[in-house]
Subunit: 606 residues, 2 copies
């Protein structure tokens, strides 16, 4: 296994402290024990662990996948994960990853989500399957923390945050996929807050393992006689082992099938059968019939983590292809090629290879910046100093979440494809790691809401439903940054700001045109185009912010324009504005033009 | 294994006979025994074989990959392919696939390359690994046919065309990849036309099997004391078994290693070791030191086949996702969703899914049309009625080859990605076939010249080196079709023609600007952008031609505008002009703007 730095440390630092000033958050009470030093302690522990312990096991886990076998502890038939997984998981728990951003009173560290997301990016870059067990558990525990009573918190949340139990999010059913209104898993009132659960779930990541003491499945189900559709869905905690008196007894929820996934291979994805012997008990979490709304309060965090994961996977591919391109000699430079007698040059010197490398860096660092900014709004939304501040941040966090999920997923897939391409024929071989990363990446445009659904969420829910309020607030925020950039002496910043300003105007015109359409479906027919155009634009905005800070750094004399790191960031911005923004303009135009070919085309024409 | 129609038969027919009028070729002497009926006989035999025999074995071959084992015939250690491969291969030979387009006197059928390419598209859609053994053998035999003497033709070409021997193209070496100037495999004069070969080749597809009587490796090597670089490379036939008197004896060329490819899994790709016991004999094919130029005379055909393969793989994914989308119920239409109580609708009714389906169809059918047009120019170049006609067609075939290779490879990869996306979570499982097709597709932007090299070939060799002559001839051809379209009564055709005409002007400006640059490297720095822009544009041209024929079909009353097939083709054109051409314009603009970010960026900035 090659070494791989996983992420650019200088980029991560520059984004966290220069561009996003994450240390500002320590002004809020919740974070007041923290400072840059405590952030860095946590981050560098995670970085070391990712590089030294997680990454060396990544490729093995891609090859030696979970399978049905005998659980060494119980002697029973069980899904066994890679032998090293249990050890990695306890170390992640020891690092304080599981409750990093949670309050002290549940055993957490009260770190900003911005910092815990940055840390998770390191860990996911190291080994996304191991990190997956951790963030799924955090998500499940957080749901119990937010909506569960003391009994539930004691029995399920605490052991999850402590690393003894793992957790899952069990939403999807075989016949319904993304359509949560059609959930059929049933819950019948039993006694107390207990319900009998019957049904089946599919694609449950981390739904089985042979290292944790218990698994708590946070499960959406329908209580008998509830309303049809989304308004009749409730949330339950359904453990693998349930407490009965002093005992933990089997709870009749079984992983009956392993999905043969093409990536994330260390993390088993299973079909879960509930109550096949009519002895599966679940505990209601929160209010009856409010399950979806409870679940969706956690969804932003989950979606940002998908964005972070996509950045991580794209980054590892980028670093791998960068090292390959620097060390692989092949061919000669065009202007000297005729002779063909001198030594070959490293392929990193060929313009088209250089283009593929810089493009990857733009996607990785631009995507990371977008993810961190969105996470910071979540921190402010939760802990900001006034209600106004918190509400404003919440709107921005909600608005930006589909962008922070989709940009890294879609462009990250392209980045991982380029990492394969840079490797040439070797990239097509599974002896090299880049193809595995490409397989991992493909999931990110599918899980936690497909790209198509993110488009509907952005345009339908976040833009049209609130009459453009969230969008306007977001654009105002951006215009503020543009004004700052235009006030500098830098010609490049002035130019970038002008380009983005023109884009803002185009967005506003588009929004007016959309509002005048007669049906919701006609407004939404190009929602994916809208989403993708705003993704590119949002990352253009991030590059403007990055260059703005780079100028300040240069003025401060700390990191001058001669510093290769700062120069690289400016080249990325230059590339993005020259190459990507014009495509975003064309993409946004599609929303206005509203070509109806694919709507009008009948199925028998296809 | 699901059934899958593999390709749209009505699109194939419409393209062959209406759009490209392949039957016109029968006016040339070489094809004079043929007519539409003989074409269809061959094509429908290939179609049936692809659907009924090849496709049912595809998924097995993806899972049960070649491995070292014992050759049942010799008892020796050998690379054993899937047990069904040998049977499929003999049936392909019996179908007349191997020498379909070759002359009668070598056992061929004198079919147009346009028809044999269409047939090969069916076969590659059925099982690209089995088809791969066939087209590699045809390529190797064709080289011997073109440049070998009678002895070579008798001993190697004939048994290859007859299906007893298979063949390979052995170019790439581990240290040199695409840089053929750096080939080190050596050939030392032995006696007669015999040479002793020593060296190593990598990524040799079909380099081993346990079903054919012999394997002939068409190998690039360097004769001692030859000039350095590309001008010192010669072509040799190096068989696995060589004739010595009446015997065929082992020839000391061994497949020493199997590459763990991520796709095309039925077709072993190997490392070949030549002369490790100093007993490997090769026969010079053609002139010494002209090996590369000999090889490149076959390259157009090979590259068009890569394009056809990419179309085939994209098409199978498209058909798979179309059937899935029609049969998978999930969610409800936006305008009726609120209630959430009615039955779910098939996902093919959701706008964004419909978009992903139509986009795939545009890529598949547009790509196929481009491939067939390029193949037709090859036929005319070889067999046209006058030297002028042949020369003109040769220039067009040469010019269009990088487009016909790259468009299907790059956009086909996107199409296969969309086929996975349409399947949602199921697409991420290897129980469904779409992910395997995606893995297969990735090779097409890498082998037979990467996309980056196709860009250099197009802009450097085909455009700049001949001062834009090939480009101008191509644009004139297109302008002819635009004039025809503008002369019709159809508003849509007039509009499409105007869009393409504007693009032609932009290309001409770009070419002038490029010519004024001072260094070759600065002219070529955006060659990939140029290539991709011209790819989209070329497919826009194909859609214009398709709609032009669709109008004629409508006027002729045979297939009216009410026919779903014709309507579908028009919707594709509408989509392409609304969605893709604006992106191509932005991409072409990049060549002019000539952003230098990735050239200026130093490696320590990345």
């Amino acid at each position: 296994m090659n070494s791989n730095v996983l992420l650019s440390e200088r980029d991560m630092q520059f984004l966290l402290y220069d561009v996003h000033a994450v240390d500002e958050l320590t002004a809020f009470d919740y974070f007041s024990d923290h400072d840059r030093e405590t952030f860095e302690q946590f981050l560098s522990a995670c970085k070391r662990f990712a590089r030294e312990r997680m990454w060396p096991s990544y490729k093995q886990m891609d090859k030696e996948v979970p399978s049905f076998g005998e659980d060494a502890r119980s002697g029973q038939r069980a899904i066994c994960v890679h032998p090293r997984m249990g050890e990695l998981y306890s170390q992640l728990a020891n690092l304080g990853v599981l409750a990093a951003s949670r309050p002290y009173d549940v055993g957490g560290s009260q770190l900003p989500i911005t910092v815990s997301t940055a840390a998770m990016t390191w860990l996911m870059a190291g080994n996304l399957s191991a990190a997956g067990f951790a963030f799924l558990t955090t998500g499940a525990a957080h749901l119990v923390e937010a909506f569960g009573d003391t009994w539930l918190r004691t029995h399920f949340m605490k052991p999850m945050y402590a690393g003894r139990f793992t957790g899952t999010m069990a939403l999807t059913e075989p016949h319904a996929g993304s359509s949560l209104a059609d959930i059929r898993t049933s819950a019948t009132h039993d006694s107390g807050g207990r319900y009998r659960i019957r049904g089946s779930k599919i694609f449950i990541s981390g739904g089985a393992n042979n290292f944790s003491d218990n698994i708590v499945h946070l499960t959406l189900a329908r209580i008998e006689d509830s309303p049809a559709g989304t308004r009749g869905v409730s949330l339950f905690a359904v453990p693998k082992l349930r407490p009965e008196g002093d005992q933990w007894v089997p709870n009749d929820v079984q992983a009956s099938q392993l999905i043969e996934k093409i990536g994330w291979k260390g993390l088993p994805s299973v079909v879960l059968d509930y109550g096949s012997e009519d002895d599966c008990i679940g505990w209601l979490v929160g209010r009856p019939n409010d399950g979806l709304s409870h679940m969706f309060q956690m969804m932003n965090e989950a979606r940002i983590l998908v964005g972070a994961n996509a950045v991580a996977t794209a980054s590892v591919g980028y670093q791998e292809s960068l090292e390959y391109a620097k060390s692989r000699p092949q061919g000669r430079l065009i202007d000297t090629e005729k002779g063909s007698t001198g030594p070959q040059v490293p392929i990193a010197q060929h313009p088209d290879v250089r283009r593929m490398l810089l493009r990857q860096k733009c996607i990785v660092t631009g995507g990371l910046s977008l993810v961190l900014e969105t996470a910071k709004y979540q921190d402010i939304a939760a802990h900001g100093s006034s209600l106004t501040v918190r509400e404003r941040a919440q709107i921005l966090a909600d608005f930006m979440t589909p962008l922070a999920k989709t940009f890294p997923a879609e462009w990250g897939y392209e980045a991982n494809t380029l990492a394969v391409q840079v490797h040439g024929g070797y990239g097509y071989s599974s002896e090299y790691v880049v193809e595995a990363l490409l397989r991992d990446q493909k999931l990110n445009s599918i899980h936690e809401g497909t790209t198509g659904l993110q488009g509907l969420d952005l345009l339908g829910r976040k833009i049209l439903r609130d009459r453009g309020h969230g969008l306007q607030l977001w654009l105002e925020t951006i215009l503020g940054d543009l004004a700052l950039a235009q006030a500098t002496e830098s010609p490049e910043l002035k130019e970038y700001a002008a380009v983005l300003r023109a884009f803002v105007s185009q967005v506003q015109v588009t929004l007016r045109n959309l509002s005048s359409r007669t049906s919701l479906s006609s407004m939404l027919s190009h929602s994916t185009d809208m989403l993708l155009a705003l993704c590119s634009f949002a990352v253009g905005w991030q590059w403007l912010k990055i260059v703005t800070q780079a100028e300040r750094a240069a003025d401060g004399g700390l990191q001058g324009t001669k510093c290769p790191h700062i120069r690289g960031l400016r080249h990325c911005a230059q590339y993005w504005f020259a190459t990507e923004i014009p495509v975003a303009v064309a993409q946004l135009t599609r929303v206005d033009v509203a070509d109806s070919s694919f709507l009008d085309c009948s199925l028998d024409s296809l």
